[in-house]
């Protein structure tokens, strides 16, 4: 089973949203593509980061997926749909980037270095006691076909609706609904097989992610 993650020391950051501009009242207006990309980036950064972290084994890998996804978005800024659709478009790109990553095609470059440093504060740890059930869940989930896993993940982890799935997967809503139904059925079957019935959760809840006290050796200078 993949290790769980919790955060180690976080560098103090201000509450205000960060801005790239040197000052808020900068007199020069940004070119449209840049301001649009900024809006998309700010609105979706943690979503794509979360998407990557939930599907990769290391923070390093997640950093690469995030960097490549936004790089692709910047290069194809004219293709990104408006509004909420942009989020789905980004998930679609992240999905392809991740697939390439799993084929060993993702670069290890300096583009994601800073993010890598930030994520280095995250500590991949084994879950606390009482995780036997979660282990079985994980085994059942891991036994599914990747496409089934992704359908269920996008639905539950990213909170996507059927119509969202259909856009990302490039199929009709009806097809997405049927695929999701089948994926759930196969998961239930796997759960039966590993002895973890689909019953309400017991005492084991979602893994808490803590921001533990600072660990000097991983703290970075600013």
């Amino acid at each position: 089973m993949r290790p769980w993650v919790r955060f180690l020391p976080a560098n103090p950051v201000g509450d205000a949203r960060w801005r790239i501009r040197e000052s808020e009242d900068a007199p020069v207006a940004e070119p449209e593509p840049l301001s649009r990309f900024r809006d998309i980036y700010e609105a979706n950064y943690t979503r794509i980061l979360g998407y990557a972290l939930r599907r990769t084994d290391t923070a390093d890998d997640a950093a690469d997926v995030v960097a490549d996804t936004f790089l692709a978005a910047w290069r194809r800024i004219d293709e990104i749909p408006q509004g909420e659709e942009a989020r789905l478009w980004l998930y679609g790109v992240a999905r392809r980037v991740l697939a390439n990553h799993r084929r060993g095609q993702v670069r290890k470059d300096r583009l994601a270095d800073r993010l890598r440093l930030d994520l280095a504060r995250m500590d991949f740890v084994q879950p606390p006691p009482g995780f036997e059930e979660l282990d079985r869940l994980s085994a059942a989930f891991g036994a599914l076909r990747p496409k089934d896993r992704e359908l269920l993940s996008l639905t539950v982890w990213e909170g996507l609706r059927i119509e969202d799935l259909s856009r990302i997967l490039g199929c009709s809503s009806n097809a997405a609904k049927i695929r999701l139904h089948r994926a759930r059925r196969r998961l239930a079957r796997e759960l039966e097989r590993v002895g973890a019935r689909a019953k309400p959760p017991t005492a084991v809840g979602h893994v808490e992610i803590g921001r533990a006290s600072a660990r000097p050796d991983t703290e970075e200078a600013h």
Binding site: A10, G50, L71, R75, L115, S153, W157, A188, P201
Partner: protein
């Protein structure tokens, strides 16, 4: 959604290692800012864009292949055409218990290509990625679940890090697996290649240039004459001003985007094997 679905959703949610809300504090962090700045600074090859050094990096899965794979349908004796190749962007034929698929239109929509496989009962998803000229229309990567079984159809003249030059797929007729296939397509102007053949190989920007092993000084002149743009890189991965290393030697060239190449240089020239030299110098 019924109760059973709810319960399954709850279980799946417990498998998520992290929730987006828990990452909020990172969204205001310096890493987010730095990544933004680096990404928007990328328009042409710059030192921040140290894409994979070479196709050799992913040799295990990469099966990048040669020239546009519109070859040879007609010359395949004993084969039987099936399907409607033009419409699908793929040509299928049946051969010795295999379904052989070749790309006829590397710019076809991926949905169309996947649908073409589905018509033949194959659960294969296609994606197209921008690649250097000599591997357009070829198989860049194969991802399979389970025991595998998909083979490549070799041919073409491209020189790739993955070895070989596969121009199509050989899929067992009874294949029941689930595969993702990546094919190369033409890059848009300025679009970065996601996979590339050897820059000195047939069909690439520096084919027959004789620059492998040349000094940086000579290479600068030749690259300029070919109206190419180059990024110069040392073997440690750092970029370098070519004027400061004019007596270094060219060790490798990676196509980066149309008209753009990544030149690797070192203090000593490399001595490549004869087969490699023969492959890159075809038709020179």
């Amino acid at each position: 959604m019924n109760d059973q679905d709810d319960r399954l959703n709850t279980m799946v949610s417990r498998l998520a290692r992290v929730r987006d809300e828990e990452l909020a504090f990172l969204s205001v962090g310096p890493a987010a800012q730095a990544l933004f700045q680096e990404v928007v600074s990328v328009q042409k090859p710059t030192r921040t864009l140290a894409v994979r050094r070479s196709p050799r990096r992913f040799a295990a899965l990469s099966v990048a292949a040669g020239t546009v794979a519109i070859l040879a349908l007609g010359v395949m004796l004993g084969s039987t055409l099936i399907g409607s190749p033009e419409a699908a962007g793929l040509a299928f034929r049946s051969e010795d218990g295999y379904i052989v698929a070749e790309v006829t239109d590397p710019m076809a929509a991926t949905e169309q290509l996947s649908a073409a496989f589905a018509e033949h009962g194959l659960d294969i998803d296609l994606q197209l990625v921008p690649v250097s000229p000599s591997i357009v229309g070829t198989v860049v990567a194969i991802g399979e679940e389970g025991t595998g079984g998909i083979e490549t159809l070799q041919g073409g003249t491209c020189v790739t890090g993955g070895g070989g030059c596969p121009i199509g797929l050989r899929i067992p007729a009874d294949y029941e697996g689930d595969a993702d296939i990546t094919l190369g397509r033409d890059a848009e102007p300025g679009e970065q290649f996601l996979s590339a053949a050897d820059g000195f190989g047939p069909g690439e920007a520096l084919h027959c240039s004789g620059l492998l092993g040349a000094t940086v000084e000579d290479a600068l002149e030749a690259i300029d004459a070919r109206a190419l743009t180059a990024v110069w890189r040392l073997s440690d991965g750092s970029d370098v001003d070519p004027a400061t290393v004019s007596d270094y030697f060219v060790t490798e060239a990676i196509p980066w985007a149309g008209g753009e190449v990544l030149m690797w240089v070192a203090t000593e020239p490399v001595t490549p094997p004869a087969e490699y030299l023969q492959a890159i110098n075809q038709d020179c």
